[in-house]
């Protein structure tokens, strides 16, 4: 995608992601093991799995921040080779530049070059979406953790990515802020279509947000956890916004938690 189409005022189209037999090893440690996954354009996919199983590594590969030792990734049919303007990543930590105001941090997400008035409008609009307009002039040390994560999200959106990669974007938030951020994300997804891959440790969050929940981990339980492939895929029924207390979800929740090795004592789960 050329920078001029990134710059246009119509939202970018959501792009499909296809991951084929992706492998990544660090030294002789296999982290991702021949992992294949097809994600449709506009789909929201949640990745869950035990800590250290390779979720962030997978996300970094989709974003072109790391290169695989085997297999391939394509976005919108075209292969990913290195850093990619079609995707935008919001890291596990907000990673804000401490010497820049909130507004100027979000501007980092814009395509490089001279700032036009359209760019300024875009940033203002994004700050409005993440409800930070009144804090736009503050520096990162003057805002809360939840606000910082919203800035990070706005920055990723400023790219108008075809694929939005979110690595535990709400990880550090209190329960209440987390719920409101989830709704915010769904609002944004409805307003500006993008394919979203979201890493989370929170099964409820995964079920509330995603079309499909992918459980990562070692398939052979005798292997170390860091040998991740897809252990199971859960297609979440129903349309968003979902009822957080729905009985169907309770079944899936128990299934996923069991998959993560957490006994749920849920009677109908077995």
């Amino acid at each position: 995608m050329s920078s001029s189409s990134l710059r246009s005022s119509t939202p970018a189209d959501a792009l499909s992601v296809s991951i084929r037999e992706l492998s990544r090893r660090f030294g002789d440690r296999v982290v991702l093991n021949e992992l294949s996954l097809e994600i449709a354009a506009g789909e929201i996919v949640a990745l869950i799995g035990p800590s250290g199983c390779g979720k962030s590594t997978l996300l970094r590969h989709i974003g072109g921040l790391d290169s695989p030792t085997g297999g391939s990734i394509a976005i919108g049919g075209a292969p990913v080779t290195g850093l990619d303007a079609r995707s935008a990543i919001a890291f596990q930590e907000p990673r804000l530049l401490p010497w820049r105001s909130i507004t100027r941090n979000v501007e980092v997400g814009l395509p490089r070059g001279k700032r036009t008035s359209a760019d300024r409008d875009r940033v203002a609009e994004l700050l409005e979406l993440v409800k930070l307009s009144s804090s736009a002039h503050l520096r990162p040390r003057e805002i809360s953790g939840g606000m910082a994560q919203r800035v990070s999200l706005a920055r990723a959106l400023a790219r108008r990515p075809g694929v939005l990669l979110l690595d535990e974007p709400f990880g550090a938030l209190d329960a209440l802020t987390r719920l409101s951020m989830q709704d915010l994300l769904l609002d944004l997804h409805a307003a500006e279509p993008a394919t979203i891959v979201i890493v989370t440790h929170d099964v409820d969050e995964a079920l509330y947000l995603a079309d499909r929940v992918i459980l990562l981990g070692a398939i052979d339980p005798t292997e170390s956890a860091a040998q991740a492939s897809i252990r199971s895929t859960v297609v979440v029924p129903g349309l968003r916004p979902r009822d957080r207390g729905s009985g169907d979800l309770a079944e899936l929740r128990a299934e996923l938690l069991e998959g993560l090795g957490v006994p749920t004592h849920h009677l109908s789960a077995r």
Binding site: G63, L65, L83, A85, A88, I89, F91, E93, R95, L97, P98, W99, V108, G109, P111, R112, K131, S134, S135, L138, R139, P140, R141, E142, I143, S144, G146, M147, R155, R159, L176, T177, L179, S180, M181, D183, L184, D187, P241
Partner: protein
């Protein structure tokens, strides 16, 4: 879903990450009044020292060839001024300091950037520069004298050496230790090369650069006096030696006070630069 209508509890400045102190709201005194108070308070001790000095010098406890009175020091200054040499001494010393400081700081910043940003350059240069730094500074004086003669060049070169090392040794590691997460962030948003440098690395090291410049300036004055003590026909260092040899204790005191004033003056100038830069780039 109405939960996303803002999170009012969190919409306020929190505590400072580093110190845990609350972010100040607006309770500081107005800048002008604070400035006046700082000036008055800052003048208390110098005035007290002068008063005490005058008292001791006129009490006869210490003979006047060991301790001149403040007034005689003032008179010595006026005398040198009227002969037209005071200005010359000050001007040549200030010129040497500023030139040497400028050269040393620029070379220091350049080498620090290369060594701080490239692992290979670091492997190439760092051991040598580390060894050079270990050489006691005054060891350079005879060599510089031999190579460059006892002229301006050798003194400026000595000052530059003095200014170089604080900048190099502070800024190179600062650049090397810029948060790798922020650098990766810049990369992932399409920045590389000089654009990445000006987005992340340079702003991140602004505080280190400024404090290194202040150190370098102090070193520059130190090396200036060292150089002038060991061979000069003009300058404040020369005035020190000359006064010592002629038993002019009033001029000795005068020169020491002048060095203090000049050093503080140039330091304050860098301090102003610091205030300006930190407002823009500080966190």
């Amino acid at each position: 879903m109405s939960l996303n209508s803002g999170t009012p509890v969190l919409e306020r400045p929190l505590v400072d990450d580093a110190t845990g102190a609350p972010v100040p709201v607006t309770s500081e005194p107005r800048p002008r009044r604070r400035w006046v108070r700082a000036t008055v308070l800052g003048a208390v001790i110098p005035i007290a020292v002068i008063v005490l000095w005058q008292a001791i010098a006129t009490s006869g406890l210490v003979p006047s060839y060991r301790l001149p009175t403040p007034l005689s020091v003032w008179a010595a200054g006026v005398d040198l001024y009227e002969r037209g040499v005071l200005y010359q001494h000050i001007a040549i010393s200030t010129q040497r300091v500023l030139l040497g400081f400028g050269i040393g700081a620029i070379v220091g910043l350049a080498l620090a950037s290369i060594v701080g940003l490239s692992a290979r350059a670091s492997e190439l240069f760092a051991p040598t520069l580390g060894a050079l730094r270990a050489v006691p500074s005054l060891a350079w004086v005879p060599l510089l004298g031999l190579y460059l003669g006892l002229n301006e060049d050798s003194k400026v070169a000595l000052v530059a050496i003095g200014a170089f090392f604080p900048v190099y040794t502070t800024v190179a590691p600062a650049l090397r230790h810029v948060d790798a997460h922020l650098v990766e962030l810049g990369r992932s948003y399409g920045y590389s090369g000089p654009a990445l440098l000006s987005l992340v690395q340079l702003p991140a090291v602004v505080p280190a650069v400024i404090s290194s410049l202040r150190l370098a300036l102090a070193q520059a004055w130190l090396f200036l006096v060292a150089g002038e003590l060991l061979g000069a026909s003009l300058g404040l260092g020369f005035l020190l030696v000359d006064s010592q040899q002629n038993g002019r204790i009033d001029r000795l005191f005068l020169t020491i006070i002048l060095l203090g004033i000049l050093g503080k003056g140039t330091d304050s100038a860098v301090g102003l630069l610091e205030r300006f830069l930190l407002k823009r780039w500080g966190s």
